[in-house]
């Protein structure tokens, strides 16, 4: 059975592109488009890896990550954060809150696939 990626991102065309890429690469993909009930989506889907955008409606990716890491079962769940922000303080914040990896937009498809493969098979 394929491992599952939960993509939490609100931009529809980015969702479609990443969805296409990851499925072609052999991963099972679920998507969720808002921050407000993202934690519920994580609990419901029980993904093997989360690709999490920072700027989301309702609740930011940082807040979702912070809350996720307070859950015993999800302390070690791999999380790849995506953001358009490029300052060191944003990278530091993501690391501090427990992001496994951090990628800035725009990213290359090859880079995204490479990182997901590495995170799924460390």
């Amino acid at each position: 059975m394929s491992k599952m990626v939960l993509l939490i991102e609100d931009e529809p065309n980015i969702i479609e592109a990443i969805n296409f890429l990851l499925k072609r690469d052999g991963w099972d993909v679920k998507t969720h488009a808002n921050g407000h009930d993202a934690l519920d989506a994580i609990h419901r889907n029980k993904p093997d890896l989360i690709v999490l955008d920072v700027m989301l409606p309702g609740k930011s990716g940082y807040e979702i990550l912070r809350d996720l890491r307070t859950e015993e079962d999800n302390k070690a769940l791999p999380v790849l954060m995506l953001t358009a922000r490029v300052q060191d303080k944003d990278r530091d914040l993501a690391t501090q809150l427990g992001a496994t990896r951090f990628m800035t937009k725009p990213f290359s498809n090859a880079e995204l696939l490479s990182v997901v493969r590495a995170m799924m098979d460390p």
């Binding site: 358009a84 937009k105 498809n109 090859a110």
Partner: protein, 436 residues
């Protein structure tokens, strides 16, 4: 008549007329009788010292302008500019410079004016680029769109045997994102090229309201009328103001507060006080039996025709966020960037109900100084009785430097634009400091 032969009395009369003050009004504000002022203006009495300073203060000029004319004022100005920067001997040579090379003096003063104008531009641009949430949101939008286009175009070019329906889907999506990118890029260019005051669609609701009020000169007769048409007139004005929904909401709140201020402090009372005592909000509050913030709002929003000198007002909430800003020329306040923590409006939050008076100057080379009074007050919240609403107010008046006896505190609009050295409150390196 050459400048040297024009007397102080004549200069006083000329200046008084140019600012639209009647003799009785100037006399009253200077603390002398109208007949005595008349004698001074016709050179039948000499004038100097404290009285000259007081009259200069009321007329908004330096005392030397009245006593010795423009040339002496220029010399003083150059001397003030040079003092923090130049060797003492050079400062003493200023008068010689002015006498032998008057065109160079004009050139130096012109450079100073240009420098201030450029500093104002830098302030505005720094604020926009660093902290404007609309710019930040637009740039984020651009990056998200570019990400989608980049990803989809790579899929189309790199994926062998891509199904036709996916191909069409990605081509259609790319077209959509391209259109969105072109709109966002166009709006960004417009934002960066256009002066914020002229681009009302790009202003924050607070800026919209402040621009609207400033453009109207804060002159709204319906506010002062005692009839019952206030609601009707207000709605008519809101309908034609041309602001965003948030701007309309804020403007309505402004007028509701202003109407309450008018009820507590009728125009005739405010005018009479200003004529007699000038722009003194603490004095006005005591005389009229109102709170200091009411007096501050009333004075700051009186139309200029009701007062002869400009004043500014800054209001912030308990979090230090600026809620309202009536600017005064020369005193820069950055709306988005973090303001200087030394501003007394913030100190007042720690000492509510206590007026805090400070004389301020922005940066080391500025010659304009400002008399400020800050006052914080807590009012009961209708929504949450246990947590009052705290606001702090800072009333700002330009001060004639020769009249300033109090110690002047120097600060910048923000750390990035502040040239004050050795400040324990500095948060970041200054753009204007040498060696940055």
């Amino acid at each position: 008549m050459s400048e040297r032969k024009t007397s102080a009395g004549v200069r006083i009369r000329q200046r008084r007329r140019s600012v639209g003050l009647r003799q009785a009004e100037l006399a009253s504000r200077a603390g002398i009788s109208a007949s005595y002022l008349n004698l001074i203006e016709h050179d039948r009495r000499r004038i100097g010292g404290k009285l000259l300073t007081k009259i200069a203060d009321v007329l908004g000029v330096q005392a030397t302008f009245l006593s010795e004319g423009v040339q002496a004022t220029k010399i003083n100005h150059i001397r003030e500019l040079a003092t923090p920067l130049a060797h003492e001997e050079a400062v003493q040579q200023v008068e010689d410079l002015a006498t032998r090379f008057p065109m160079w003096v004009d050139f130096i003063l012109n450079q100073e004016r240009q420098k201030r104008a450029l500093e104002a531009q830098v302030n505005a641009l720094t604020e926009r680029l660093s902290h404007d949430p609309r710019l930040s949101a637009s740039l984020h939008d651009v990056l998200s769109t570019v990400t989608a286009i980049r990803s989809m175009s790579a899929i189309l070019s790199d994926t062998e045997n891509i199904e036709p329906e996916w191909q069409m889907r990605f081509i259609r999506n790319m077209n959509e994102e391209s259109l969105r990118l072109s709109d966002t890029a166009g709006a960004l260019v417009q934002f960066l090229e256009t002066d914020a005051k002229n681009a009302s669609g790009l202003l924050s609701p607070q800026e919209e309201v402040e621009n609207f009020l400033e453009t109207s000169g804060f002159d709204f007769p319906f506010l002062e009328n005692e009839n019952d048409d206030f609601e009707k007139e207000l709605h008519a004005l809101l309908d034609t103001a041309g602001l965003s929904p948030s701007g309309i909401w804020l403007l309505k709140s402004y007028f509701v507060q202003a109407r309450e201020d008018v009820r507590k402090l009728p125009l005739a009372v405010a005018q009479s006080f200003v004529s007699a005592s000038g722009l003194d909000p603490v004095g006005l509050a005591q005389m009229a039996g109102v709170d200091v913030p009411t007096a501050m709002r009333r004075l700051a929003t009186l139309p200029m025709k009701q007062k002869s000198e400009a004043c500014g007002l800054l209001i912030c909430d308990a979090g230090g966020n600026f809620l309202f800003h009536r600017p005064i020329e020369g005193f820069r306040v950055l709306r988005y960037a973090s303001a200087c923590p030394l501003l007394p409006i913030f100190d007042a939050l720690h000492f509510p109900m206590r007026p805090i008076r400070r004389v301020l100057a922005q940066n080391t080379s500025d010659v304009t100084i400002f008399d400020t009074i800050s006052f914080a007050q807590a009012t009961e919240s209708s929504a949450n009785k246990e947590q009052p609403v705290v606001k702090s107010y800072m009333f700002i008046r330009a001060l004639n430097k020769s009249g300033a006896n109090a110690k002047v505190q120097r600060l910048g609009p923000s750390c990035a634009l502040c040239s004050v050295k050795d400040c324990d409150s500095r948060r970041e390196l200054s753009l204007v400091e040498e060696g940055f």
